[in-house]
């Protein structure tokens, strides 16, 4: 493994010819070819050109990461191309500019390629009228049940109605009634009456998730989305269809009826369920989390995430969370509540007195780069053996990694563990057995399942444990330091591909629980006598300056989507 890190250098993009088009009278230069939903370079479409021109073209069925359907007709625009004379040469206006022949028919911006000199009209009375017409059609059979709809507040029907719709309906007929609360699969509920049949969900599950399970049944206005008869819509990516559903047709069983979206605070964070590190938004209100939704990052997860990771947040609110700082009383005494100051001072004194080589550290690859960096400082000072614990599971072809630790590479780069994670654990067990190791520091793991059983732990003079949830190791500890879940603190992870990404704090930790990097900073200061940074920004930058694997990085430079280092 190479520990020399370099900042990601993008391969020089091949030169793509640029062409000039006009969007609503403004001339811009756009590449002739742009990536399609698979990333393949294809002729640039009108909607891409408009996006580059910072002009919004309303749309429902178009999604940049899905094959184009062209069915909603919301993105219709008018356009013109340079007029050609009978000699196939451009016809010029008296002022020498190219004469534009306006197309008699509109075109869908999502599927129509641009051509040199094309003029796109996104704001004409005809265009507005067409959009008004499409919206009217979409709404005549819509139940208009916004007050009880989970999508309200983030609904494209609502948004475009405000932008392009009419205030009253002239629909004087009976609405089409369709199935409601259709149990599509274990995590998805469908309301067919709200559906606008854009087929984003159908295309996602067929072309992205590779599970061709959804389709349309019936005909015309009675069309409904359905799962293949007799089967459930059940793959590990179904909840993405809820995200991309532009209306309230597909809802998450986990989130529906839980919270109005406008009350939710959104925090940029990461999923920590595996080594992929999908970027997420944590939606919370009053210190309670309500959902994860994927946050687009083309270097990691695109706009998607797996269902398992998305729903793996409830444990944070578990009632048996470690909330108190605990210390074992003298003799055979049990764990009693104490204060951070007492515990940290106590531990610091013991570590300072510990002879070199008598301390071992088992850290967790679920901890942040910054925390692992601080533990590595302790390790160096104490001459300690260290390692981490491997957690593996099944991988898939899309996003899920076999590595269930979010920060294995962070542990490696900081020198807490080595290429083969867990290879030092037998040595640590042996050291305890032989009496050489008298103090064990465990962060976030249960070492009793890793070959360091209760019998070995009983031989220790001092067992210092930090964790978020209780386990056998925390029960046997002399000191229990309650830590914070990643959504309760700031920090960074390094994913399986070396992407260093930061996450923000969404909710407060319960009780006395604290972010590990905060108390580790105090501990390192006490033990080494050297002060360090007390902000996460400073700490990260210090780590980047000292640890070769992170050389050149800065906290600010990570941005929202991270930077890749060499692994």
């Amino acid at each position: 493994m190479s520990t020399t890190a370099t900042i990601e250098t993008k391969p020089a993009a091949p030169a793509i010819e640029k062409i000039k088009v006009k969007v609503d009278g403004r001339e811009i230069e756009v590449p002739k070819l742009m990536p399609d939903w698979t990333g393949k370079l294809t002729p640039t479409t009108m909607i891409q050109a408009c996006e580059l021109a910072k002009t919004d073209v309303p749309h429902y069925c178009y999604h940049p990461k899905l094959p184009i359907a062209g069915n909603c007709r919301m993105c219709l625009v008018e356009f013109g191309t340079p007029a050609l004379g009978p000699d196939r040469k451009p016809v010029l206006n008296p002022d020498g500019t190219a004469k534009i022949a306006k197309s008699p028919r509109p075109a869908i911006a999502c599927a129509t390629p641009i051509s040199p000199g094309m003029e796109i009209y996104n704001n004409t009375p005809t265009v507005k009228q067409m959009r008004e017409g499409v919206l009217e059609f979409l709404l005549i059979n819509h139940p208009l049940d916004c007050p009880i709809c989970d999508q309200a507040g983030e609904c494209k029907l609502q948004e475009y109605s405000v932008d392009f719709g009419q205030s009253t309906s002239r629909f004087a007929e009976a609405k089409v009634h369709k199935p409601k609360a259709v149990d599509l699969g274990p995590r998805i509920m469908l309301d067919d009456e709200r559906c606008i049949l854009c087929t984003r969900c159908v295309r996602f599950t067929r072309d992205v998730a590779g599970d061709d399970k959804l389709g349309i049944v019936n005909r015309g206005s009675y069309n409904t989305i359905a799962a293949y008869p007799g089967t459930q819509f059940d793959n590990n990516y179904t909840l993405n269809t809820v995200d991309i559903c532009p209306v309230g047709a597909l809802t998450s069983k986990d989130f529906r009826f839980q919270m109005r979206v406008w009350f939710l605070k959104e925090t940029k964070s990461l999923c920590n369920s595996c080594g992929t590190g999908c970027n997420v938004l944590v939606s919370s209100r009053e210190e309670k989390m309500y959902r994860y939704t994927p946050r687009e990052n083309d270097a990691v997860n695109g706009p998607w995430m797996c269902d398992a990771g998305r729903l793996n947040y409830k444990w944070v609110g578990r009632s048996d969370r470690l909330k108190d700082v605990l210390m074992r009383g003298a003799g055979q005494g049990g764990l009693v509540k104490t204060t951070w100051l007492t515990a940290i001072n106590d531990i610091s004194d013991k570590l300072k007195r510990a002879p070199a080589g008598s301390v071992a550290i088992v850290a967790s690859a679920r901890q942040t780069n910054e925390e692992l960096y601080l533990l590595a400082k302790l390790k160096a000072n104490l001459g300690a053996l260290s390692d981490s614990v491997e957690h593996t599971g099944e991988a898939d072809r899309l996003l899920v990694s076999a590595d269930k630790n979010p920060n294995t590479n962070g542990a490696r780069l900081n020198g807490i563990c080595y290429t083969e994670i867990g290879s030092n654990l037998p040595q640590i067990a042996q050291g305890i057995q032989s009496g050489n190791i008298k103090t064990l520091i465990v962060f976030g793991e249960d070492v009793t399942t890793q070959g360091i059983g209760a019998d070995l732990l009983a031989k220790l003079d001092t067992l210092i444990v930090s964790n978020i949830l209780p386990n056998t190791t925390t029960q046997l500890a002399h000191y229990v330091l309650p830590g914070a879940a990643h959504v309760e603190k700031r920090g960074s992870f390094t994913n399986t591909k070396g992407r260093v990404q930061k996450f923000m704090k969404a909710v407060e930790a319960p009780g006395d629980a604290r972010a590990e990097w905060e108390f580790l900073h105090d501990l390192v200061h006490n033990v080494t006598g050297k002060n360090g940074y007390v902000t996460i920004e400073g700490l990260f930058n210090q780590m980047a300056a000292e640890v070769p694997g992170f050389a050149g990085l800065t906290w600010a430079g990570l941005g929202d989507t991270g930077v890749t280092v060499t692994i």
Binding site: N71, A111, N218, S221
Partner: protein, 477 residues
């Protein structure tokens, strides 16, 4: 005097003419194919060589043959769009999904002279280097499918199909594929999707032009039954000779399906433009006039989706005068020559050449309600305006037809219809479902308004039962 001109229907309905191959061969069948396969490469004046295939394609272009399915697009031009450099196979599909209400011409060919179609197809396939062709036949024509399957087997047994056709080294397989009963399968890209085993959602164009990205994303030609039959005659008589039939830019013959309230409904083959609408309706050789005592009210000139013509309507028709100059001549709708261009000038179309005649006994609101029910049922529902608009118009029209009209319903209907066509939809179904509504209401607005006013007046007189409300919308669902 207008005459029938039987080119395609030459033997059809002759006593003793049967759809089997022996009968066809006795009547000179497959001679056109033999002629096509015997064409030799030709030196062109510029030194290049024209392959036999190119010569046939050029001849079809020269013939001026226009598609008989509905759009009237030049067949030669359509063939010229085919991507012949992609290295992919080229497919030919015969669109036998004849489902436009009022149209029943292709059915006659398939039922009574299937080998004529097959011969036309083999020649067309040969001319376009096609080695696999399909006949996509409407689901509601099981008899036609049976006859065609039998005919294909006969043709194969005689080596007009299969490997090394007639020893020329040319291979061609042909299959019959039955639809499952959806009008939209007649739309060529919907047909292709259906043939691929999918829901027949028409494809967006761009990028999916059949000539480039058709069946299985390969270049594909989709032609109507009657169009393909014409290819056989073009090869037999020569493109220039064929072009002498009919009128300039409207060459050849057309089989007109005449239905509605005439004495002699039926199918009549005429030289294109050599008979007027009035002659087709009234001439004893054709429709034989309306039922006794009835007056003409309206006609639908080219299948149910074409815009209606009202009796007595006058149009300015472009004609050449004695000196060859273009002049506009006022022409009554009955005097419109039945061809592509004249009907286009009258703001409608000859479509699938199906004339539906309505006399003065017809309730125009009810007639439109009937039409719109068809379109609401057949809209595939892929794109928004057609999916929602077709059913909305139908609901409004059914409500009106069932005595729940409103005075403002005429405008209401047109406003709905105006939001559907003109490139707002993926395929031409948007036009097909909205043109009848637009034209019926535009030309018979007084009847729509009168019905609405009468309904409102009647409802006002109805004694309301206390506590009972009659919501308008509940009238028809």
């Amino acid at each position: 005097m207008p005459q029938e001109y039987k080119l395609i229907l030459k033997h059809v309905d002759e006593p003793g003419y049967t759809p089997d191959i022996d009968c066809y061969l006795r009547h000179g069948g497959y001679e056109g194919l033999k002629k096509a396969l015997a064409i030799q490469p030709k030196e062109l004046p510029d030194g290049k060589k024209a392959s036999p295939q190119e010569q046939i394609r050029d001849d079809v272009k020269l013939s001026g043959l226009r598609g008989r399915g509905g759009a009237g697009f030049s067949c030669g031009l359509k063939w010229s769009f085919v991507d012949r450099r992609s290295g992919k196979p080229i497919y030919l599909i015969c669109n036998a999904d004849e489902s436009e209400p009022g149209t029943f011409k292709d059915r006659q060919i398939m039922h009574k002279d299937p080998h004529q179609l097959i011969e036309g197809m083999i020649i067309s396939c040969f001319a376009n280097d096609v080695h696999l062709a399909y006949i996509y036949i409407r689901g509601e024509m099981p008899e036609g499918a049976k006859i065609l399957i039998k005919a294909l087997a006969e043709a194969k047994a005689k080596n007009f199909l299969g490997k090394n056709i007639l020893g020329t080294g040319y291979d061609l397989e042909m299959y019959v594929h039955r639809g499952a009963g959806a009008y939209i399968c007649g739309e060529e890209t919907g047909l292709i999707e259906s043939l691929e085993g999918k829901r027949p959602y028409p494809r967006i164009k761009p990028p999916y032009f059949p000539a480039v990205l058709g069946l299985w994303m390969c270049p594909t030609i989709v032609n109507n039954v009657e169009t393909l039959c014409n290819v056989k005659h073009i090869v037999e008589m020569g493109g220039a000779e064929f072009a002498r039939l009919g009128t300039p830019n409207n060459t050849g013959t057309r089989i007109v399906s005449l239905s509605g309230q005439v004495k002699r409904p039926g199918y009549y083959e005429i030289e294109v433009g050599k008979a007027t609408i009035g002659e087709l309706i009234n001439d004893p050789k054709f429709g034989g006039g309306l039922r006794d005592g009835r007056k003409l009210k309206a006609i639908i000139p080219g299948g149910s989706s074409s815009k209606v013509l009202k009796a007595g309507e006058k149009f300015k028709l472009k004609k050449k005068d004695a000196e060859g100059k273009d002049v506009l001549v006022e022409t009554d709708m009955l005097d419109l020559p039945y061809d592509f261009d004249s009907l286009a000038q009258a703001g409608t179309m000859s479509g699938s050449s199906a004339i539906i005649v309505m006399d003065d006994s017809v309730d125009i609101v009810g007639a439109l309600a009937n039409l719109s029910e068809f379109y609401a049922h057949e809209s595939c529902g892929q794109c928004t305006p057609c999916r929602e608009g077709a059913l909305w118009m139908n609901k409004a029209l059914q409500r009106m037809a069932h005595g729940q009209g409103r005075a403002g319903d005429a405008d209401y209907l047109v406003k709905i219809a105006d939001n559907i066509p003109g490139g707002r939809t993926i395929c031409a179904f948007g036009e097909a479902c909205s043109w009848p509504v637009q034209s019926f209401v535009a030309k018979f607005k007084d009847e729509f308004v009168a019905k609405g006013v009468a309904d409102e007046a009647r409802r006002a007189k109805e004694v309301a039962v206390p506590g009972e409300t009659k919501p308008l919308a509940a009238a028809h669902h």
